[in-house]
Every structure is written in C-alpha cells, then in structure tokens.
C-alpha cells in the first residue's frame, strides 16, 4: 500500500515536471529562445522576415502590402519614438513640443501619430526590443551606434528611404555632422540633436575674481590660471568638468593631437605621449584644488547653482543653465572649447542620431515624415531655441523666419556653430564597445581624480582594451 502510493506520487511529480517544461515548447519557438540552432534559424526566418523583406523589397513590388502602403489620415500609423531627451528636465519640454507640433500638423494631415517614450538611460529601447515590442525610431547616442547596428536590427537610411528624398532632405545639413552617423559607407544614424562642448562662464564669479568674462580664456593654460584665480579669490571651484563626463574627454585627446583608435579601429592608441600630456594637464585642476568635485551630474549642478566659475559641457545644457542663471541674476557668457597652446581645438559631438527600424513599408513612410519634420528647419528651430542643441541646418541661424532672433539674443549658438566644421566623432567597435569604453572611462577617472600616475594608468587601460580584441 505504502509502496504503491510512493510510486504513484513519484510518477505524478514526473508527469507534472515534464508537463511544466515541455508544455511551453511552442512559446519557446515563437519567442526565439535559443533552443537549438535549427529552431533558432527557423524562427528567425519567420519573425524577422518582415524586417529583412521590407528592406530588400524596397523598390520591388511586394504584393498587397506595397500597394496599400500609403499613409491615410483616417487610419493614422502609430510610430514609437524612444527619446532620452524626454527624460531630462532641461530638454523634456522642447522635445515634447516638437512631437506634439508634428502630430498636430503634418502628422494629422498625412496620418502619422508619433508617441514619445521616455528612455533617459538608453536602455528602455533595448529591453523593449528584447521583449519583442515594436520600436520604430530611437534617439541613439553616437558611441553605441555600431552596437545598435550589430544587435538591435537598425537599418541604414539608404536601405529604407527613397534615395532622391534623402538627397533632397540632406541638402543643407552639415556634411561633417552627417558623416558621423555613417558606418561602412551607410547612414545607420542620421545626426539629430547635436552639440559640441562649449566653455560656459559664470560672468559674475569671473568679475568677483577680477577676470573679464568678455575675454574668456582660450587655451587650457589660460583656463587653469583663471580657475586658480577664481578659487583663490572667491573660494569656489574654478572649473566644473568631471572625468566621468564620458564624451568631452575624447576631445581633449584629439585637441592635443592624440587619437583614441588607430586608422582601422583595430587597436586603441590613446596612451600616446600627447594623450598622456592632455590628461596630465586636466589633472592639474585637481592637484591645485580648483576643480569642482563630484559626479558629472553633481558638478554641473554646482555650476548651475552659481557655485563654480566655468564648465565645459554640451550646449544642450544651455536652456537649463540660462533659466537657472536668470533666476539667480548671474551673467552667462561662454566660448569655444579650449585648445592646447597653438594647436587647434578639436571638439567632439555629444547628442544623438536618429536610428530607424521600420517593420513595414507603411511604417517606413510614417517614420520618414517625422524624421523630415524633426530635422527640418522648423524642427531645428524648436530643438535649438527650446533645448539648446545645434541647428544642423546652419543657414537657419540667419533666417529671420526661423532661428535668427534667438541666435541674436544668445550668441553662444553661433559659438557652437563655428566649431561644427572641426567636429570629430568616436564610435567604439561593437565587439569591444561596452567593456572597452568602461575600462577607458574608469582609467580616465582614476588618472584625473586620484594620485595614480597618468601615464601608467592610461597604458594599463590601453593594454587591457587591446587584449579584448583578441
């Protein structure tokens, strides 16, 4: 009796177990679980089919879908737009305005509704794609562009949108900016919100320290001298520029003639004498006690609260700094990124590119309508005047219909524009992007803000990153 019961119980549990694990087999397939190679390929073919088909079939007849693929105002197409700008208080309103205005005008007229989705850490688009949700349009940062290309199924603009329309739309947009989103000759990211670092200056603190805010320092030596004078006279940090900024750092290397990668991006080469020299100069701000301490966010907050003399940061901060300084009654000036002596300063770009992953021809058309609007003259007028990013259509800065009134009022916009031609981008190769950039950023923080030797720290990081290539 007892024995029978036991056997029955074991049988029962085994059946249950088998049922629990195998019962879900069909869902495994359709959600692309990596079961076996064969199953995987099969499910790829069915699930990703629509993506690849619409890419390849552009221009070909594709049956019913292509014929009916016309936008219809009565049945608007829904486009999901993942934007980090929506997650930052200083940029949120401007980006919301841009989306709303599109939906109310062109969107309504043609039949497109763009839904803005907050993605302040750049991770929501990834997790949503992983979860199988349709992500149409992403505001993607540049350094991770290759990663997105390799992993997120984003498509080249040339493969999705008609060539003549692309050419017509790109006419008037800075060539240097457009080229930053190109990988292997194709545009995987179209330059969207864009800025170069500028040296923001707290005019009031400058005057208190006996400096002239209208003759701002131009070289790093001058910036250091000014920062030291500010700290000496006012007790407040002279420069708010954190080693964890994650992007301006590259500009320091480039400005001193150092590179991050070799020609074909197969090695990192940043621990060159020029690279080490640039970082050693930066470190002097810390050793002489005139640097604002804290995380990147904290040092910017100190500057915005009027507690630091200068900050080297993106013009996307302009609207935030402006309103804060207005409220505090502080005078705001600024200048281009400082240079190393006589060498020409080479700014980097922060900001984003638009990357697209339409799942049908119709969706591609809808996305293209929004892209055209957002990167057209009206779009850039909103982006520049309400967020602070650069107008990539430089000529609208002189067009009274668009940006001229704003640029006249805030000359910093033109400061930013003058740097645009020199701008240089940094895209980490996908294979080593995250770990490599992490090692790089950590090394910069250690080198600048601790007692560690700059040369040794950078050389070790360089060796560690190059080891990742293997």
């Amino acid at each position: 009796m007892q024995g029978k019961k036991k056997i029955l119980m074991i049988l029962m549990i085994l059946t249950l177990g088998v049922f629990a694990f195998t019962g879900c087999a069909p869902t495994q397939m359709s959600t692309n679980e990596p079961t076996t190679e064969g199953e995987m390929t099969e499910s790829v073919a069915t699930e990703a089919g629509s993506n690849t088909e619409s890419t390849e079939a552009d221009g070909n007849t594709q049956g019913v879908e292509t014929e009916s693929a016309e936008l219809d105002p009565a049945n608007p197409v829904h486009v999901t737009f993942y934007s980090y700008s929506l997650g930052f208080p200083t940029m949120k309103e401007g980006m919301e305005h841009l989306i709303q205005e599109f939906n109310d005008t062109i969107g309504k007229e043609k039949g497109v509704v763009v839904e803005g989705i907050v993605d302040e850490n750049y991770t929501k688009n990834v997790t949503d794609i992983q979860a199988g949700n349709q992500v149409d349009l992403i505001q993607n940062v540049f350094p991770s562009l290759d990663v997105a290309k390799e992993n997120l199924g984003i498509m080249a603009f040339e493969d999705v949108f008609p060539e003549d329309e692309l050419d017509a739309h790109w006419d008037g947009i800075s060539e240097a900016a457009l080229s930053l989103g190109k990988i292997d000759g194709k545009t995987y990211g179209m330059a969207f919100t864009f800025s170069t670092p500028i040296l923001f200056i707290n005019g009031t603190l400058f005057e208190e320290a006996g400096l002239d805010p209208n003759h701002p320092p131009q070289t790093w030596d001058e910036v250091l001298a000014a920062a030291q004078q500010i700290t000496e006279k006012t007790g407040k940090p002279g420069l708010a520029f954190s080693p964890s900024n994650g992007w301006v750092t590259y500009g320091l290397f480039y400005s001193n003639g150092a590179g991050i990668f070799n020609e074909d991006r197969s090695q990192v080469v940043f621990a060159s004498p020029e690279g080490i020299e640039a970082i050693e100069k930066w470190k002097e701000f810390y050793t002489s006690g005139c640097a604002a301490l804290g995380t990147d966010g904290e040092v910017v907050e100190q500057f915005m609260a009027g507690n630091a003399g200068m900050t080297l940061n993106t013009t996307a901060m302009l609207s935030g700094i402006r309103s804060s300084f207005d409220a505090l009654g502080i005078e705001l000036t600024g200048t281009t990124m400082p240079s190393f002596g006589e060498k020409e300063a080479i700014p980097v770009n922060s900001g984003s590119a638009l990357v697209v992953r339409p799942d049908s021809d119709l969706k591609a058309k809808a996305i293209w309508e929004f892209v055209k609007y957002a990167t057209g003259p009206r779009g850039y007028t909103i982006i520049t005047s309400e967020i602070g990013y650069l107008p990539l259509r430089t000529e609208i800065a002189d067009d009274p219909q668009y940006l001229k009134p704003f640029a006249d009022e805030y000359p910093l916009v033109r400061v930013n524009l003058t740097q645009l031609d020199n701008v240089r981008g940094t895209i980490w190769p996908a294979a080593i992007a995250t770990e490599g950039s992490q090692i790089f950023n950590n090394a910069i923080q250690v080198a600048v803000s601790t007692d560690a030797d700059v040369g040794e720290t950078l050389k070790k990081a360089q060796d560690d990153i190059n080891a990742l290539y293997k």
């Binding site: 249950l16 879900c24 679980e33 990596p34 790829v44 991770t123 992983q130 992490q438 250690v446 560690d464």
Partner: protein, 315 residues
C-alpha cells in the same frame, strides 16, 4: 444513524471499491497541481532557461541568432575587469548590512518595548516609514543631502569646521559604497525593528516575572531571556539580510553612482543588469546569475543548518 457511523460506513465502502481508492489517492495531488504548475512555470522553467542561456552568446533581441559558446561565458566573466570588484563589494554590502538588520533593530525594538503603548506605536511608525519609501525618491533625497556643493551634510561639516572643502561622496571611492550601504541599511532598520517588535510581543511575560523574583537585573534579563528567545528572529533576519542585501543596494547604485567611481561601488546584481541590458550580453549575465545562484544557494543551506543548530524555540 449518527454521523460517525455514516463516515465509518463510507470508509468501509471506499476500501471495498478500488476505483474510489485511486481517486482518494489522486485527490491531494490534484489539489497541488495548480501550485506545482505555477511554480514549475514561473520558477523552475526560467531557472533552467538561465542555465541554458549561460552557454550562449546572445543579445536577447528577437530575430537574432544565439550562438552556442559552451562555457566561454564563464571564463569571460572571470576575466572581466568589473567582476572581482563586484564580488568584493557584494561581500562588503552583505557583511555591512548585518548591523542594520540585526544589532540596531534589536536594541530599537527592545528600547521601545516597555514604554507607553501610544508612544510605542508612534516610534514604530517612524522607524517603519523609510521602508515604505520608494527607492528612487530616497536616492534623490540622499543625493541632495550629500551634494558636494550645497548639500546639507557638507554644509554642516563646513560650518562645524570639520572639513574645509565639501566632500564629493558619490565620486570618492572611499565614500560612495559606504553611503550606499548606509541608505540601504537605513531602510532595512524599519523592517527589522518591526520583525523584532512582533517577536518581543510573543515572549511570555512570566519569564520576566520569575527572573525579577530571583533578583535578575534588566540587563541580565535581556541577555538571558530576551536574546535566546529572539534567536529564531535573529537567524531569519540574518538570512534575509545576507540573501537580499545585494538586491536592496541595487536601486541606490543605479541612481546614485551607476557603479562608479571606476566600478568601486558596483555589485554583482548591478553588474548582471548591465551585462544583460546595457551591454546586451545575456549569456554573460546568465553565467553570472548561475554562478551566484550556486554561491547563494550554499549560503542559504549553511544558514539553514545554523538556524537549526542555534535558534531556540519556546514551544
């Protein structure tokens, strides 16, 4: 016929009829079936899948191919620059959490045990409030308190002349993880105090009366009666604290330091999260998860063993 004889008769009938016997044997398992199915689907299936994922190189993006890499993920993990600092910090957070989950709450609960019930309720509510505060809002509040420029903490330190320059708590490798531990611990205290308070209420008052009659001092009573009788709660709190401290520090790491400065405040959970969702390397993340499932599983077994050895139940 009275009720008892009816039941007896039915039992006899049941014994005579084999099909009904099978039914009565099956019945309990049928009742268990929904629970077993749910646990199988929500707990064990993901577990098996995690182990499976650990042997693949995959971004988890639908439409991409997972590449079978055998145990490469594990060796990659051990070579990763962030791995050992993360392990180190996980130990730091786990050990550092114990005072907040055991020692401080024990004394808070004991101290508020014998006061006026009204005041007791107010005190306990105050202790418990941090626990119910959303981690992200807590992180923001502490970010402002510890702001290097005009945070309250630095302003106070400056005014008292203890420092002559604000401390950048979240970008100083010595401070960042201490502050994170402090915030997580601050939240933990409320929960643990509540647990101890309810355990204290359960102690039979007669022990104290007897001890008083024998002339035992309050301190003696605490160590000889309260402490041993609270041992089951203490073991439970140690277990909860050890197994969950890494998860509870996650929100503060993400919101305050993002693992920095230079990976000095990250822990294994944050590292796994970064692997899976920032670096899109689900295999590596799963490998780390599998490895730590074993570590924490062993820890849990040891703690259970200790619990049986050390906890004293007043039955």
């Amino acid at each position: 016929m009275d009720k008892q004889s009816v039941t007896l008769q039915r039992l006899r009938e049941a014994e005579q009829k084999p099909p009904r016997r099978l039914k009565s044997i099956l019945a309990p398992y049928l009742f268990l079936l929904p629970a077993l199915l749910l646990i199988g689907f929500w707990v064990y299936k993901p577990l098996v899948q995690t182990l499976q994922l650990a042997t693949y190189d995959w971004s988890l993006v639908p439409g991409t191919t997972a590449e079978f890499v055998e145990l490469d993920n594990f060796s990659k993990l051990l070579r990763n620059a962030e791995f050992w600092p993360a392990v180190n910090n996980t130990i730091f957070y786990t050990v550092g959490m114990l005072p907040f989950s055991v020692i401080i709450p024990l004394f808070l609960a004991a101290a508020t045990q014998s006061i006026d019930p009204k005041a007791q309720r107010i005190y306990r509510a105050l202790f418990f409030i941090p626990m119910i505060m959303a981690p992200v809002s807590t992180a923001v509040i502490f970010r402002w308190l510890f702001n290097p420029g005009n945070g309250l903490v630095n302003q106070t330190l400056l005014n008292l002349g203890i420092v002559d320059r604000g401390i950048a708590f979240f970008s100083d490798p010595n401070w960042a993880r201490l502050i994170i531990l402090f915030i997580a611990g601050w939240k933990m205290i409320g929960f643990a105090t509540l647990m101890y308070s309810s355990a204290l209420t359960g102690i039979n008052g007669e022990y104290y009366e007897a001890a008083k009659l024998d002339g035992a001092s309050e301190i003696r009573q605490f160590f000889d009666i309260t402490l041993p009788l609270l041992s089951p709660t203490t073991m439970l709190m140690i277990m909860i604290s050890v197994l969950f401290s890494s998860q509870w520090t996650f929100a503060y790491i993400d919101n305050l330091t993002m693992g920095g400065p230079f990976s000095t405040s990250t822990n294994i959970y944050y590292m796994m999260y970064r692997f899976a969702f920032a670096e899109m390397n689900v295999g590596l993340s799963a490998a780390a998860a599998a490895m730590f499932m074993v570590v924490f599983g062993v820890l849990a077994l040891i703690l259970q063993y200790l619990n049986r050895k050390l906890a004293f139940y007043d039955n």
